[in-house]
Symmetry: C2
Subunit: 218 residues, 2 copies
Amino acid sequence: MLSYTEENYLKAIYHLSENGQKSVLTNEVADAMNTKPASVTDMIKKLSVKKLIEYEKYYGATITKQGKVDALAIIRKHRLWETFLVQKLNFNWDQVHEVAEQLEHIQSSLLIEKLDEFLGNPVADPHGHPIPDKNGKIHIAQQIPLGEITQKKTTTVKAVKRGSPSFLQYLSKIGLYIGAHVSVLRKTEFDGSIEILIDKKKKAFISKEASQNILVTE
Amino acid sequence: MLSYTEENYLKAIYHLSENGQKSVLTNEVADAMNTKPASVTDMIKKLSVKKLIEYEKYYGATITKQGKVDALAIIRKHRLWETFLVQKLNFNWDQVHEVAEQLEHIQSSLLIEKLDEFLGNPVADPHGHPIPDKNGKIHIAQQIPLGEITQKKTTTVKAVKRGSPSFLQYLSKIGLYIGAHVSVLRKTEFDGSIEILIDKKKKAFISKEASQNILVTE
DNA sequence: ATTATTTTTTAGACTAATCTAAATTTTGTA
DNA sequence: TACAAAATTTAGATTAGTCTAAAAAATAAT
């Protein structure tokens, strides 16, 4: 069984290796975990002894099949708990991450299966991120950044990419949420910002950066 | 803020000091925590520096006002989570303790207040144990052991005293649960065992020991 | 291609929580 | 009361996770 800390490192390494197949570097992990590279080296050795990652000195780590399985189990728990917090306890979507970071480490397969059932076997968390099923299978929906859709076409918001609390609060403030219907009214060439129409009612200007973090149906 | 381990020790000391005002002895704590007396001595020193207990060398520890407040906050969380597991996730009452031992350490006052509300501000957990309110206040109901009630009188089961999983499973098996209506049909003098009638339907013989662990309304 | 910079690892130290074994103190008893 | 037994504390060691500083290796740049 993995310790609290081992779980967190494994998860970080999984997330870092999602974007690109390349091996994950020591400093990247240290940044993600807010620890020092020396600590990462130690932990990487531990995880590689446990066959959850493969590690070549000075060249970073790659996650193994088993490592992925374990990481996905943790991510499943995280996202189910986030869903619970929003759907059942009325948390806002910007309030759930920190608490789910704790809840994801609770060890009880009975609990997580019953929670899954209680929530109606959800396929995505409050940020639109897919929830791996019991076997670690993820259904990856085709989604593109809002900035890239054809003008006039109406799409549905499916997910947010990076979800810092302040970004999520900002989205709520302009009336944007998962499931909202959005179309692009105008694009500004020089800075990439766009004007959008939400649910045929509200207009909003959003920056290029923001538009890249909002994912919609194609 | 208390560490996971400090919380567990504080809770154990609180529970041990509930039964009797006397100070809690090192060995008692070691037994309750499944650790060695030497470890207890160390922790007792830490908690006394934090003013959660008062400690006189060789004479055990007594919990302070602040210690009680902190202990009750943990117990509140434990019992709210147990209630959640049974009422919302359909756990059996003999399955919840271990999971709640983990959940009680989640740090989020928002979470616990929302959970409390979600559950309808329950006053007792699935074993009938009182849930301290937000301010640590407990409503202590008058309850007596089943073995001590007057024969023929019908009473309502309110709580179980010590709730090991096997004892709870046994109670379920004979049809006994919190809220059941029970009367004593016969008492056997020499061993203190009794025959009871549950919900005017089921009869069961239970030992003196069991009867002392079932608490009913007077 | 040699040097400078960056990255990573190693070495050694620290804290929290635990242990065993030995020393100390209290308690019980002859 | 004095000694034996039990309980408690102290001393010293261990493990997990972390750090800083120094050493080593890889990468970039002149």
